[in-house]
Amino acid sequence: MDIVEIIIGVIALLMAIRIFLTRSRARKLLYLCCLSFCISALIALYVDSPMGGIVAITYFVCSTLSSNAIAYTIEQAKDIE
């Protein structure tokens, strides 16, 4: 295994653990964003073809879209409370 993949993999695992340990929903999103960076990089490194790059970009943009929606919902829920 390559040193680059090991570094990214270790960071991804660390982020997954921190997501479970953090109580605040808004701060979970920050860790989740870092995890999406790691997953998108790993997709590109493993698939290793131009199509893999397109998949990584699509994954990343979609994960950002869903984070956007979740953060918006948290704000709306605060108003209701």
């Binding site: 040193i3 570094i7 964003c33 590109a44 970009i57 950002t64 879209l65 953060a71 918006y72 948290i74």
Partner: protein, 164 residues
């Protein structure tokens, strides 16, 4: 050999960090939350003792593909396809920005500048190290310690006259 590779990753990480933080700050990410969700995250960072402008910066990164995403995706495509890949990545990041209701200048320009940097540095540091470097750079901001990261980002924003 491993030591040389680790040094390359760290140097690439520093270049990526400067690239995305400077471009994002220049385009005013710390000034105001671009979408409603970024405001929530900024206020949460302020509640734990961080800087509100640094918090808006981090919230905007989460809610829309900015220069940070542009840097990662352009290094991925440069690794897989060369310079053309970086330009394709810039186009796709721009589409992603438009989906998130963002003007899209920061992401596109971040992708284009990192493509140029990777092209110029390709004899010394290969594009692969920039992918790991960018993950390391985003880890220092979003994943390591939110309070101190936001204070540092707030200071940079103040120095560049963005925010306060």
């Amino acid at each position: 050999m491993e030591i040389v590779e680790i040094i390359k990753v760290v140097v690439a990480g520093i270049i990526c960090w400067l690239n995305f933080v400077l471009i994002d700050t220049y385009f005013g990410l710390p000034e105001k939350p671009g979408v409603l969700g970024a405001k929530t995250i900024g206020e949460k960072i302020r509640d734990i003792g961080g800087n509100i402008h640094g918090g808006y910066f981090m919230g905007n990164i989460v809610c829309s593909p900015d220069a940070s995403a542009g840097t990662l995706l352009a290094s991925i495509m440069s690794y897989l396809m060369g310079v053309e890949g970086g330009i394709i990545a810039a186009l796709l990041v721009w589409i992603g920005n438009r989906l998130c209701a963002d003007p899209g200048y920061a992401g596109t320009i971040g992708a284009l500048t990192i493509t140029a940097i990777i092209y110029l540095l390709s004899p010394i540091i290969e594009a692969k190290y920039f992918i790991a470097g960018m993950v390391l750079a985003i880890f220092t901001i979003q994943g390591f310690e939110h309070k101190y990261a936001s204070i540092l980002l707030g200071k940079i924003a103040k120095k560049m006259n963005r925010g306060e």
